[in-house]
């Protein structure tokens, strides 16, 4: 099957998944007992005001019509208006999605840059002290609750050493006097693009702790996966054959064996990426990070359904896209993975 055929089919399936999620979130939000219009207008509003608002939002129409309106709006990039902030949800998402993705993507980069080499080196020195230490550290890494680790690091690096900021994306003085202009919403990129290096450095400073906390789990998991699949690959005959051909240890480990061993690690990375988007909620709250997590938590608590639905949809899209990307990457790494074979 050609790559193009495969892509078309996978994207078609992805659209079906997204449609399914839209339908489910929509109907779930309609059967919940809370009345969103009452929440929107407040408890003291009169019945007339409530009904007027209900008509304005189209909530007095039959449910299928409401769904078509909703789906049609999304196709035009309109997620509706947040009951809580009274702003278009799209405008909120433009701020919060990049903030969260900035954390998640950086923590994934850490997982790849730290986790994979640690796994390879641990496997290469199986039973040695590097292996033992990395095993203890990574088992701690996958089991420590992130909010607890976050609090500990804040205590150490903010309260005691005063090296790093407590939370937020930018220090107050920058927000007021020298804010980073929004281009992509990613401060790391926008700061550079707009030439605002002072604020850029400040943004990086704010990223250190939350990124590290969010990355602890992915780094540890990646290291453990890489170690175990490296050990499996290293016992294969083709590795003995490479040794018998006189290839150096480094070539064998990082070139020959890793290309085989990385395939299962990629699957895990794909799942962890998607998981981290929602997993970031706790980290964002501890570090007062104005991201998707904070946004959606407050929306859930105030029954702000349009926001919950929009965020669910966004996460679904990211999840589906990442997994498609990983599948294609694996097929390019391993010629035996046949795209779409049944």
């Amino acid at each position: 099957m050609s790559i193009l055929n495969y892509l078309i089919r996978r994207i078609g399936l992805a659209l079906l998944v997204i449609l399914g999620v839209m339908i489910i979130t929509f109907f779930v939000s309609r059967v919940l007992p809370a009345d969103p219009v009452r929440l929107f207008v407040g408890v003291r509003a009169s019945e007339e005001t409530v009904e007027a608002k209900r008509a304005e939002f189209g909530l007095d129409q039959p449910v299928p019509v409401q769904f078509l309106n909703y789906a049609g709006g999304i196709l035009q990039g309109d997620f509706g208006i947040s009951f809580r902030t009274k702003r278009p949800i799209v405008d909120d998402l433009k701020i919060f999605v990049p903030a969260t993705l900035e954390l998640v993507i950086l923590s994934m980069v850490l997982a790849i840059v730290i986790g994979i080499p640690v796994g390879v080196i641990a496997a290469a020195n199986r039973g040695g002290w590097i292996d033992q230490i990395s095993r203890i550290v990574t088992i701690a890494g996958v089991s420590i609750p992130s909010f607890w680790l976050a609090l500990l690091l804040q205590l150490l690096f903010f309260s005691t050493l005063d090296w790093l900021p407590l939370g937020g994306r930018l220090s107050r003085e920058f927000i007021i006097s020298n804010p980073i202009e929004t281009v992509t919403g990613f401060y790391v990129i926008d700061g550079l693009v707009t030439g605002n290096f002072e604020a850029w450095r400040n943004a990086l400073w704010h990223l250190v702790l939350p990124t590290f906390v969010l990355a602890t789990y992915p780094i540890s998991l990646t290291a453990r996966m890489t170690r175990s699949s490296m050990l499996e690959v290293m016992s294969e005959t083709y590795i003995s054959a490479a040794q018998a051909a006189g290839l150096s240890r480094r070539e064998i480990l990082f070139k020959l064996a890793l290309k085989n061993a990385i395939v299962p690690t990629l699957t895990v990375l794909g799942l962890v990426f998607a998981f981290s988007i929602t997993g970031a909620i706790l980290v964002e709250i501890v570090f007062s990070w104005p991201g998707l997590g904070t946004y959606v938590t407050e929306s859930i608590l105030s029954a702000d359904f349009p926001v919950v639905m929009a965020v669910t949809l966004i996460v679904t899209v990211i999840y589906v896209a990442i997994n498609l990307f990983i599948d294609i990457l694996q097929a390019t790494l391993d010629p035996r993975v046949r795209l779409g074979s049944q």
Binding site: M1, G246, P335
Partner: protein, 540 residues
Amino acid sequence: MSFLKVEGLHISFNTPHGVAEALRGVEFSVHEGAIFGVVGESGSGKSLTGKAILDLVPYPGRITSGRIFFENEDLRQKSERERRAMRGNQIGMIFQDPSAALNPVFTIEQQMMGIMKRHRAEAKKEMRAKALGLIHDVGLPDPERVMKSYPHELSGGMQQRVMIAMSLLLDAKLLIADEPTTALDVTIQAQILDLLKKLRDEKGLTIMLITHDMGVVAETCDEVAVFYAGEVVERGNAQEVLSNPQHDYTRALLAALPDGSRWDEAGEDSTRPLIEIQNLTQEYVSKSGLFGRTQTAVRILDQFNLTIYEGETLGVVGESGCGKSTLANTLMRLIPATAGEIRYDGSDILTLDGPALRQLRQHFQMVFQNPFTSLNPRMRVFDIVAEPLRTHRQLGSADLKVQVDRLIVECGLTADYADRYPHELSGGQAQRVAVARALALNPRFLILDEPTSALDVSVQDRIIKLLVDLQKKHQLTYLFISHDLGVVQQISDRIAVMFAGEIVELGTSEAVFTAPQHEYTQKLLAATPSLIRMKRDNSL
């Protein structure tokens, strides 16, 4: 002065249960330009010796003492860097399973160039030309296409040729071939052995040929060392050792070889058909295209006809991919048939389902090739044998124990084996458990799918004997599938030779062996290592 000399080599493994000695003072020497056979059963230390020469003893093993001289230099005195330069450059190695010895995610070209880049400073073009030349030398057509292929796109025989070409890239003088033909079909085996002989003659290569197969030794080797339990028990000129073995173990090894004689005298010819296969067709459909609309059917069995008579042993021989395992799986109703009929006692079994199929399953049982993958590693022997009884019979725990003990003892083990796990058994013992499990429900028909291929030759012998005894006792009918003509001849009343999904020859065991009619059967017989032929002709 010898080319390769091993003196007092000891290797031990540190295990949780203490130190295990795998090699205990191995000694031998190899002359330049010789094909030196290293023969022995699994666990005798023959592969380990080969790896030790390249300093590739697997974790957690280590060389505790001994010396290895290559061209009069003590390899163990060399630095790691010197030893690595020597690997590939001076000494090359090929392995048992070529599909496992080639890295699946790199093309042949990438793998070959990777090796040369490490050791040679030549221009890329020259290196490539050399690789192409070697691929041609090992007898592969279209070297350009082979270079661009991934390993899985080549057949087993082609992969082993590529491995040999790779090991010669750096002009190695010594080639250590670790069971280079064991994973290959018998006609391919003959070709690879011929290639090794040709390389010795033309390039003056010295070859250390590690094998468990005395037939291969007789066919190929000048000198031989017989390994037993980590020691060399006999060595010398190959023909002398084979014709006049001194050590008991060598004699036992030779005696265990199939010699064309039958274990059981042929019984009265049964004329009652037990199973009739009529026009059986088996297709695999692979889908491709945007919505899987392009369908390609691969026909494994094509209008297949075969009658199996009650009480006989029907041997089925053929090479990998000829459809013999598909036949077994279809008979067992493990995979659905595309078309055709299989009649058992007169009624079609392909249409059975529900309770009737469950009933049939008691009559048909199967023993698989590798007992360590066909026995659940988390279950004790008792539960493995008891499982079919628990499924089909309502027995009290006392009755169950009596039954299981009887089966285990009947298969040549003692009742105390019931508490063991499969990994605590030897290959032969594990296969006995598999046979006991197959017999638990008093079946009438047993499919034996290469039941001895994973076992050492002396163990093969005992399993065959067990099967023959059980057949007599229980009036069983056997379908015995194998790629090994010698073993098939030992046990079969009739033999069916399969090729590309069809039976090309079917006849009594004697007829097929003494007067093969079909070209493919003749080729198969000619490719069998000569020792078996010599032994059969009593010229040994």
